[in-house]
């Protein structure tokens, strides 16, 4: 199921399938491991639209909420509905 990174629950994993936003924004995300095809695990999201913290490429990265919405993740979750 395709989701925005912000919609993932803490602990949920998935694969990054697309990045939205300008070329520079995409480059910044990629240089921290947010690459199409990489596996990503959401560790935590902070209250009031705070940063999202993920584990990608064995490293923790904190991403601002607005930026995290530009990362599209394919969850291997069993979408029952």
């Amino acid at each position: 199921m395709e989701k925005l990174l912000t919609e993932l629950k803490p602990g949920e994993t998935g694969k990054i399938i697309a990045l939205r936003g300008g070329r520079r924004m995409q480059e910044r995300l990629r240089s921290l491991g947010m690459m199409e095809g990489n596996h990503i695990r959401k560790l935590s999201n902070l209250v009031w639209s705070g940063p999202v913290i993920v584990l990608v490429d064995r490293a923790q990265v904190a991403i601002g909420f607005g930026m995290a919405r530009r990362i599209i993740v394919l969850t291997n979750g069993n979408n029952k509905t």
Binding site: R23, R24, S31, G33, W48, D57, R58, Q60, A62, M67
Partner: protein, 634 residues
């Protein structure tokens, strides 16, 4: 949007000041360039476990086989298309470097090789240092350095800068690199380049600028990493588990509060212990030992000074200069105000202990890797005042000394952010020297008075931040940072860093304090302050409720804040005036060193803006405090 400096910057190069180096360390933030630099040159540098510790280059010399090399440590950059001020400096240095050591993180090879590819595309003569290879081994990551070297066409040396592993091999391979001839433009003649490295700088022509074809780079990096790296299963390490726990929304917030409370308590505990031998956090110490800087001054130094005082006849110009005024026939280190009394006591006995304890705790926070996590947790609050969480790092550094704090704002991306953060630091973040004196002077009235001053400054910081957010335009970038793994601070590195910072304090503070005491005494003799006090009385007395003579400490604060607080002592202020005085003094003009750095970092226009904000803020806060405290305290 303004286009960033691309690879082709030939026109700009002429304007730039060139810094030519024999060997330049290049790499992404937090790969350990500064530690490696210290290993190569023996020059001590400040290294920490968070991205952005180095904001300007450090230069050193390395001798090897009868040759001396000039080695530069550049700030970290993710790419040759820089995003912030400090990365821009790194890119400039790369253009003028003869040889490059490209430092990459062996634990995240795929993330670091794109920069390597960009450097290769620029035909740089270079060696790749595969740093943190000890950590990679520990994590079950194996990298075939030989094969990687073959694929890249340049030497690859596994290193672990922290333990010194591989440094010798690195130097040897540097020595065997071909020396580039000056102004060599024929690219194909560079040895050390294999023809199978494709030229990525071709040709993604985009609005007339030549850009590297990023997609091709990522693809090639993926191929190389697949060939040279193998992963072995490994168990969750303790540091990883702790790392995940400390970013949990609930546990992480509690942990942040705990860490901050513990840090402040430790600073106070160690500081007070070093000053008076007392052990305690709030109020009266639980235990007092005959120990500490105050004890040393009172028991050892004072008898000597008393003899000198008698010798000088207890008065006269020279006595006034060296010993100062006797209070009830005795030397009072806080009030006498001579060069040998207050001039030495303030920096060495009252402030130095707090400098030591503050930097000890800060270094522990820095090296363990907790600071970026704190930045993430505070991002929410910081965002509401127009900053992002990373601005907390310069602000925390500012609690030690405003100068490095203001300089560290270079790690922030937009001009607006740098302006807001630097302005807030210079107005509402008291440095350790100032804090030590406030605790020393106001602490006698009970801990609540000190806490009140801190609270007032924090509220001021918050309100000015909010106002600046809505009045200054500019883009507010979002937080995007890599959180480094927890590391156990290395004792050697910790001591070396502390030593540098303490030495830095002594070198900068001692001469200025002594000069300040000297100048003030001269001006007193000339009665220059009397005219000034009458002139400024309308603000100081009518609005702030302070005696008109308080203008003297406020002006001295421009030289050194710690000396200025000390000058409140003989004025016999009541608690209300003392609180107002300390808050106003903290805000009123930064000390001269901060002032210079602030203007250098922000430029004239924004520097003046910052000063205007400061003058308005200090007038309002001082007045508000005076009238509201009159209601509470009769």
């Amino acid at each position: 949007m303004k286009r960033p400096a691309a690879i082709d910057t030939t026109s700009k190069k002429i304007l730039r000041k060139r810094t030519i180096s024999d060997i330049l360390l290049v790499g992404q933030p937090n790969v350990g360039k500064s530690v490696l630099f210290s290993r190569l040159t023996g020059v001590r540098t400040i290294a920490s476990n968070y991205p952005g510790t180095t904001v300007t280059y450090t230069s050193g010399r390395m001798r090897f086989a009868q040759e001396t090399y000039k080695v530069l440590d550049a700030p970290g950059t993710y790419s040759l298309e820089p995003l912030d001020e400090s990365a821009r400096a790194a890119v400039d240095l790369i253009d003028d470097a003869k040889r490059i050591i490209n430092v990459v993180d062996a634990t995240h090879l795929e993330r670091h090789l794109p920069l390597t590819m960009e450097l290769l595309a620029q035909k740089k003569v270079m060696v790749v240092a595969l740093n943190m290879s000890d950590e990679a081994r520990h994590k079950g990551i194996r990298i075939d350095a030989g094969k990687l070297s073959e694929r890249l066409g340049v030497p690859v040396v596994p290193t672990a800068a922290r333990s010194g592993e591989g440094i010798k091999e690195l130097i040897h391979s540097l020595h065997s690199l071909p020396v580039p001839k000056e102004e060599e433009k024929d690219e194909s003649s560079h040895p050390g380049h294999h023809p199978h490295i494709p030229d990525y700088s071709q040709r993604d022509i985009d609005r007339g600028h030549v850009h590297l074809n990023r997609d091709k780079i990522w693809q090639r990096v993926g191929e190389i990493v697949g060939e040279v790296q193998s992963l072995h299963h490994h168990h969750h390490t303790l540091s990883q588990r702790l790392g995940e726990m400390s970013v949990h929304p609930v546990w992480g917030s509690l942990f942040a509060v705990f860490v901050l409370a513990l840090s402040f308590s430790l600073i106070r505990l160690i500081g007070e212990f070093l000053i008076g031998g007392g052990i305690g956090i709030l109020g009266e110490p639980w235990l007092e030992l005959p120990f500490g800087t105050e004890f040393l001054f009172e028991a050892v130094f004072k008898p000597l000074l008393k003899k000198l005082s008698l010798l000088l006849g207890e008065e006269g110009f020279l006595h006034k200069m060296l010993i100062g005024t006797l209070i009830d026939g005795d030397i009072d280190f806080m009030q006498s105000f001579g060069i040998l009394t207050s001039g030495l006591f303030i920096p060495l006995a009252a402030v130095l202990p707090y400098i030591i304890s503050f930097y000890l705790v800060l270094s522990l926070l820095e090296d363990s890797g907790y600071l970026p996590r704190l930045a993430v947790f505070l991002d929410n609050i910081m965002h509401r005042i127009g900053l992002h969480g990373y601005a907390i790092i310069p602000s925390l550094l500012g609690l030690g000394c405003n100068v490095p704090g203001v300089m560290a704002t270079r790690i922030l991306e937009s001009r607006q952010q740098r302006f807001i953060t630097a302005t807030l630091i210079s107005i509402a973040v008291p440095c350790a020297a100032l804090q030590a004196m406030i605790i020393g002077l106001v602490g006698d009235h009970g801990p609540w008075a000190v806490i009140f001053i801190y609270g007032m400054l924090f509220i001021t910081w918050l309100i000015i931040g909010l106002i600046l957010r809505f009045t200054s335009r500019g883009f507010r970038p979002e937080l995007l940072i890599e959180i480094p793994p927890y590391r156990i601070p290395s004792f050697r590195a910790l001591i070396s860093k502390m030593w540098m910072r303490i030495l830095g304090f002594l070198r900068e503070a001692l001469p200025v304090v002594i000069a300040a005491v000297f100048i003030v005494n001269i001006l007193y003799q000339l009665k220059a302050f009397e005219y000034m006090a009458d002139f400024t009385a309308p603000v100081i007395t009518s609005l702030w409720g302070m005696p008109k003579e308080s203008i003297v400490p406020l002006l001295v604060g421009i030289l050194r804040k710690d000396v200025a607080v000390g000058m409140f002592a003989p004025l016999e202020l009541n608690i209300k005036q003392l609180i107002t005085g300390c808050v106003v003094l903290s805000m009123f003009f930064p000390c001269i060193a901060t002032f210079v750095v602030l203007f250098r970092e922000l430029g004239l226009k924004y520097g003046l803006k910052s000063m205007a904000v400061m003058l308005i803020a200090v007038t309002l806060v001082g007045t508000a405090l005076n009238f509201s405290l009159s209601l509470i305290i009769p």
